[in-house]
């Protein structure tokens, strides 16, 4: 068995009386492509927020490469090698495509203030190279100087992925990347995510599009009402009665 890159142990998050995520434990192995699905309000995004340090855990732990990262700030977690994209895009609209990505490349390096101000040619060259490589990877080099706000919606998704890739992450968390894409765009995205996995990147994918998740993920974690109800390969999940019930609302 390959080593677990990310381990989640009984992660719990309460918002007042609502238990958004209830004692969820799972792990992601190095090089794996894991899907996270569940009906609306199942706690998928909350779980992502717990992992990326945006929302503090009520109880439980998150470990990354064996190191306890519970309670770290999100920019620190970003620098450790966990990059994420957002369900509703969070690109920087008034900056150029290139600058968007180079913020990712720089943030990951975590420049100390004075060196960041002084620039330092060699370091900024490294950042440019990294940024260009990430843009190349998603096919946006030609638009590098365009304003991010002027990109088409689908392209902005790739821009956000490029920004995450420029951080050179070991774990990439994609929050509903297919939302708002049409069928052919979704197929293209599926192939792209697969290719990232094939290059050795570990990917965690939250998605509403069941077909997408089932076709590319090796393992699927299913959440319902904040609880994990399944954690198995796609075929097994598809037949799991608990999953069917959660999705179809089968009566007892």
């Amino acid at each position: 068995m390959t080593a677990a890159l990310l381990e989640i142990e009984e992660a719990t998050r309460r918002f007042g009386g609502l238990v958004a995520v209830n004692e969820v434990s799972t792990h992601v192995a190095e090089g794996e492509l894991v899907g996270l699905i569940g009906p609306n309000g199942a706690g998928k995004t909350t779980l992502f927020n717990l992992i990326s340090g945006f929302t503090p855990l009520t109880s439980g732990r998150v470990r990354y490469r064996g190191r306890d990262i519970t309670g770290l700030k999100s920019h620190q977690i970003g620098r450790l090698g966990i990059a994420r994209t957002f369900q509703n895009l969070r690109v920087f609209p008034n900056m150029s495509v290139f600058d968007n990505v180079s913020v990712g490349a720089t943030g990951a390096v975590g420049l100390p203030f004075f060196r960041a101000v002084a620039g330092g040619r060699r370091r900024s060259d490294a950042i440019s190279r990294r940024s260009l490589a990430a843009l190349e990877r998603v096919g946006l080099v030609a638009q590098a100087d365009d304003l991010a706000a002027n990109l088409a919606y689908g392209k902005r998704k790739y821009l956000e992925i490029a920004r995450a890739l420029a951080m050179h992450p070991d774990l990439l968390i994609l929050d509903e990347p297919a939302a708002g894409l049409n069928e052919s765009e979704t197929a293209e995205l599926a192939a792209f995510i697969r290719s990232l996995r094939d290059e050795g990147l570990t990917v965690m994918l939250v998605e509403h599009d069941m077909a997408l998740v089932m076709s590319i993920c090796e393992r699927v974690v299913v959440l319902a009402s904040g609880q994990k109800i399944a954690d198995a390969p796609p075929d097994a999940v598809r037949r799991d009665p608990a999953v069917l019930e959660a999705y179809l609302g089968v009566d007892e």
Binding site: F86, P93, A116
Partner: protein
């Protein structure tokens, strides 16, 4: 053209540069936090008093005075953020970063800090004008052909141009500047790509306050008038420049600050100095009525 008008134009430009330096503080902070910092005028007064204290205590060269004032400004900005803004940012999600409640809370806290600081300065120094040692006044006349301006006009113009140029370089060419722009574009997105948003916010306070403090000492030495409430008027003018410029556009704020400065100077010439203050307010009214997004605003792209 009558040299007298050229002279007024030069004075208007240096006045506009002062407003521009002040407006930067408002604009940068509005950019990252969507709030107005009401204590900005006091930063200006603190800058002037810090310079004056140094001058009366040690009498160093002018450049040293400016450098110390910049340092004091930086420290003031840092403290200001800690005291009036940080406590209302306990939750760092985007909703509370840009929420109305947080905005209104910091309006109050920065206003409170502003009143407190001004009163404290009046308690210590008294509310009347302080005398500035004559050697330090920057009002030596310089004759440029038929036009006569004073050293202060040049010093203010050059110092402000250097600061503004430096800021432009910082924002567009350095990683730190990209971080500032990223945070004002989308704080949460910035966080996730590894930017320390809190540090970036502090930095905007530090930069804005350095410029405000420098503006304060330069005006103090230009007019020879340093008093605790001196920051109020330029802060209002700078605020108008920010609104005219479209709230978070730095070039917009600078251009509008220059427009206000020159118009005031011309109003003094053609009408009377009593009317000069009306200029800024009329501009504000006209902008709000005719260009609600500001002259250089980009519309509502920052939801």
């Amino acid at each position: 053209m009558d040299p007298y008008y050229v002279q007024q134009l030069a004075i208007g430009l240096s006045l506009g540069m002062i407003y521009a330096l002040m407006a930067i503080g408002f604009t940068l902070i509005f950019g990252v936090l969507n709030v107005v910092n009401f204590a900005h005028g006091e930063v200006y007064s603190i800058g002037a008093f810090a310079g004056l204290l140094l001058i009366t205590a040690f009498g160093p060269p002018l450049l040293a005075v400016f450098l110390l004032v910049l340092a004091v400004g930086a420290a003031t900005g840092f403290g200001l953020e800690r005291l009036a803004f940080r406590p209302f940012r306990r939750f760092s999600d985007e909703a509370s970063l840009k929420s109305r409640a947080m905005r209104e809370a910091t309006l109050m806290s920065s206003l409170a800090l502003s009143i407190f600081t001004r009163e404290a300065m009046e308690l210590v120094f008294g509310s009347e004008f302080q005398t500035v040692p004559l050697d330090y006044l920057i009002n030596e006349p310089i004759a440029l052909g038929p036009v006569t301006i004073v050293t202060g006009d040049i010093i203010i113009f050059v110092a402000a141009a250097v600061m503004l140029g430096g800021l432009q370089y910082l924002l567009t060419r350095t990683a730190t500047g990209r971080a500032i722009r990223a945070v004002s574009n989308n704080p949460l997105g910035a966080k996730y790509v590894g930017i320390n948003t809190n540090r970036t916010i502090v930095l905007t306070f530090v930069i804005g306050s350095m410029m405000g403090a420098l503006a304060g000492i330069m005006v103090g030495l230009y007019y020879g008038a340093i008093f605790p409430a001196m920051g109020f008027t330029p802060a209002v003018k700078a605020f108008v420049a920010m609104v005219m410029g479209g709230l978070s556009s730095i070039p917009g704020a600078v251009i509008c600050a220059l427009i206000i400065g020159v118009s005031e100077s011309l109003a003094t010439t053609f009408v009377s100095s009593v009317w000069a203050d009306m200029v800024a307010y009329s501009f504000l009214l006209l902008t709000l009525v005719l260009f609600p997004q500001g002259l250089f605003g980009k519309g509502r792209d920052r939801v």
